[in-house]
């Protein structure tokens, strides 16, 4: 009998493990260093009244991107002027709350750290052509790149190192990789322009920080054609949202910025209102409202005042199989192999764990976010900010508290790093990574030269001595919204099986069951059970004695 019971248990157990009949799955493939080699995509269905291939202006061969732009502007006379007012063009943002001047143009982060002194490389993600140094002409309309957002062929690709230009002739990229990038056919691309898409937005936003999935954690190439499990709104077989469905654009202004986050959609007055709440469209409540849950689970609506939708509905990020960087340690960069050549190492999942040019990395998939109180205000450590190198430097600080009446609990990616600072001034430094000169870190692996060059380039003083400081940067998690069935369950915060709930580190909240302890639970239930038994026995005894006539 026991044998059968055990056999039965074994069968059930094995069945539980082996019931899946899936094909063997490969672990996450290594992140590509750049966007994939383009192939011509099928023409998207469109109800446009214009076929651009029939436009005379576009029926010629173009030598450069700016030549195409000139042709575009003959009809779209205001387009470049509109673009030139956007942060996509200026890479500059003045935060009205903090008065801090932010944007890629000036900020120092803890990924590639700074655009300054590295323009030719970084401006592969600028919506313009020719930004190779500080003297870029931001007023020249032909410098606007129309194709990077409007290409539908999938063949248009801006190559790092070409100051925002695509390859006009076949070239090897990455250098010394043996991989050839074909020359772009500008005529083909220009004749096939269309609306922006997940692919065009993703060409930069999925690859921020130098590779696929590196920076955001909730944006990577798996979002180009996501399944329902990855993003319930963008599911290619379902709602099939493009980025612009939420980041609804008007006059080329794209709402939604991490520099000045929209906490709850209530900041009426920002651009592009729509939806039930007459609020900013890139927020959840613009469509879902403040009481999004149906009556039968109406209790969940009590949470919406204090908990961002993302907290429950994005249970993990980097869920698409692409590992996101969680740590970047620049201090170990510069090691060379026995032949004096740079090298790289990979971790068990095939992601780069060391690169002589960049240092050590830690990558992770399916990351459980950190949770914080956030009221929409973000303060940055700027390059000019005095820092205390004895402590971890917060590149940005999300402000909020449980008592300010404005904050909600938000999920974030906490990205850690180590980067150089000036020991003399106790400020972050700008260093020169890429260039065809002798000072670029990626060419000579000499920090002294790279920092000296970078600081000179921005006109800042440098004491000549550097060291490395630990840094942290927070990234709001707001994409990769899971289907409702995968949202956090009550017990994942309130009565966690593992002892500590998701919101354990969030201060200022009382949550029954936030720290479950099996032994304490057992003791409590044991006492309750013994009490019950005692009462029953006592009652039974009294009845018994009463019947006996005592």
């Amino acid at each position: 009998m026991l044998k059968k019971l055990i056999a039965g248990l074994g069968i059930v157990a094995c069945a539980a493990f082996a019931v899946q009949t899936v094909k063997a799955n490969m672990p996450p493939t290594p992140s590509a260093a750049a966007a994939p080699t383009p192939q011509i995509l099928p023409k998207p269905a469109t109800n446009s009244t214009a076929d651009h291939s029939k436009f005379k202006e576009l029926q010629k061969d173009f030598a450069t991107g700016p030549d195409v732009t000139k042709a575009c502007l003959t009809c779209h006379t205001e387009a470049a002027k509109q673009i030139q007012k956007t942060t996509h063009w200026t890479w500059e943002y003045l935060n009205p709350e903090t008065k801090q001047r932010l944007g890629k143009k000036t900020i120092v982060n803890n990924f590639c750290t700074s655009v300054q002194s590295n323009y030719e490389f970084c401006t592969a993600c600028h919506v313009g052509y020719g930004w190779k140094d500080q003297h870029f002409d931001f007023t020249a309309q032909e410098n606007v790149d129309c194709l990077v957002c409007h290409d539908t062929t999938g063949t248009y690709r801006k190559i790092p190192g070409l100051a925002g230009h695509p390859a006009y002739k076949e070239m090897e990229y990455p250098p010394h990789s043996g991989k050839m990038v074909p020359a772009v056919n500008l005529k083909l691309v220009a004749q096939n322009i269309g609306k922006s898409s997940r692919r065009t937005c993703g060409a930069c936003h999925f690859y921020g920080g130098g590779g696929d999935a590196v920076k955001h954690g909730d944006l990577d190439s798996s979002m180009t054609n996501p399944g329902k499990y990855l993003d319930v709104h963008m599911d290619k077989a379902g709602l099939n949202f493009s980025c612009a469905t939420c980041h609804m654009t008007s006059g080329h202004q794209v709402p939604g910025s991490r520099y000045s986050m929209t906490k709850d959609g209530g900041d009426v007055g920002r651009m592009h209102m729509r939806g039930k709440q007459d609020a900013n469209p890139e927020t959840c409540i613009a469509c879902h409202g403040n009481k999004p849950h149906p009556e039968k689970v109406g209790r969940l609506n009590n949470h919406t005042a204090n908990i961002a939708c993302q907290t429950c509905h994005i249970p993990e990020f980097a869920r698409g199989g692409k590992a996101t960087k969680m740590l970047w340690d620049w201090s170990t960069a510069g090691k060379l192999d026995k032949d004096g050549k740079p090298f790289s190492l990979k971790d068990s999942g095939g992601n780069e764990s060391y690169n002589s040019k960049k240092g050590d990395f830690v990558d992770e998939t399916n990351v459980i976010p950190e949770y914080i109180w956030f009221n929409g205000r973000i303060d940055y450590t700027l390059r000019e900010t005095k820092l205390d190198p004895a402590h971890v430097i917060k590149i940005n600080s999300f402000e909020g508290s449980p008592t300010d009446g404005k904050s909600k609990i938000w999920p974030i990616k906490l990205f850690k790093g180590k980067q150089p600072y000036d020991v003399g001034s106790n400020m972050l430094v700008v260093f020169h990574t890429y260039g065809k000169d002798d000072s670029a870190l990626w060419s000579n692996f000499n920090w002294d030269k790279a920092i000296e060059f970078g600081m000179k380039e921005i006109g800042a003083q440098y004491s000549g001595k550097y060291a490395f400081v630990s840094t942290e940067m927070s990234w709001p998690i707001t994409h990769m919204v899971a289907p409702k069935g995968d949202a956090l369950t009550c017990k994942q915060c309130h009565a966690p099986d593992v002892g500590i709930g998701r919101l354990d580190k969030v201060p200022g909240i009382y949550m029954p069951g936030r720290r479950a302890n099996p032994l304490l639970d057992l003791a409590g239930w044991g006492i309750a059970a013994l009490t019950l038994i005692g009462v029953l026995l006592h009652g039974a005894g009294r009845i018994y004695m009463a019947r006996k006539g005592h």
């Binding site: 899946q20 899936v22 063997a24 799955n25 399944g227 998939t365 459980i368």
Partner: protein
């Protein structure tokens, strides 16, 4: 007399409750991994594949299966989980030859499950082969005892060694098999 009877029944009930509560922990073991998800998988695989001792005992990786993939295909999410499949024909052979215990083929190949939990940590799940073997008589019991001993070696990590790469299955088998076919059952 009735006190004895009540005590006896209560004792049986208590033992039953305790047994039910700890049965799962006896049959299966869960270990906290000191490494990340991918590294845990890779280190277990290499412990098996690179050990001359285990190789001599016939152990070989036979697959790497991802149950989470099917859930994803169905439009939902679960935290990462991968099952390392490993087998030794030297152990499986005698069991498969014996009609009375052939049903145990359902436990083959041996599986080591690596998974993440809500606390963000990586865990390793194994079957308590030694205990299970004890219930199946003279053919199975000694074999499973040896399997249990070898299982411990699968999980002996040397942190001083650099993280190896995951050994991917050679090719997915038709019908959702684990692929690989590197050896085993």
């Amino acid at each position: 007399m009735w006190k004895v009877a009540i005590g006896f029944v209560a004792g049986i009930a208590l033992v039953g409750i305790v047994a039910l509560n700890i049965m799962d922990q006896m049959m299966f073991k869960e270990h906290l991994s000191p490494f990340g998800f991918e590294e845990t998988i890779a280190r277990i695989q290499h412990n098996i594949a690179d050990s001359p001792e285990l190789k001599a005992k016939g152990w070989a990786l036979s697959g790497l299966r991802n149950p989470a993939k099917a859930v994803q295909a169905d439009g939902s999410n679960v935290l990462p989980v991968q099952m390392i499949e490993v087998c030794s024909t030297k152990y499986s052979g005698p069991i498969l030859k014996e009609d009375t215990v052939r049903f145990l083929s359902i436990l083959m190949p041996c599986k080591i499950s690596v998974y993440k939990k809500q606390d963000g940590k990586t865990y390793i799940g194994t079957m308590n082969a030694g205990l299970m073997g004890k219930f199946f008589g003279p053919v199975v019991s000694p074999i499973m005892s040896k399997v249990a001993e070898d299982q411990k070696k699968f999980l002996e990590f040397d942190p001083s060694k650099p993280a190896p790469a995951i050994i991917l299955p050679a090719a997915p088998a038709a019908g959702g098999g684990a692929g690989g076919g590197g050896g085993g059952c």
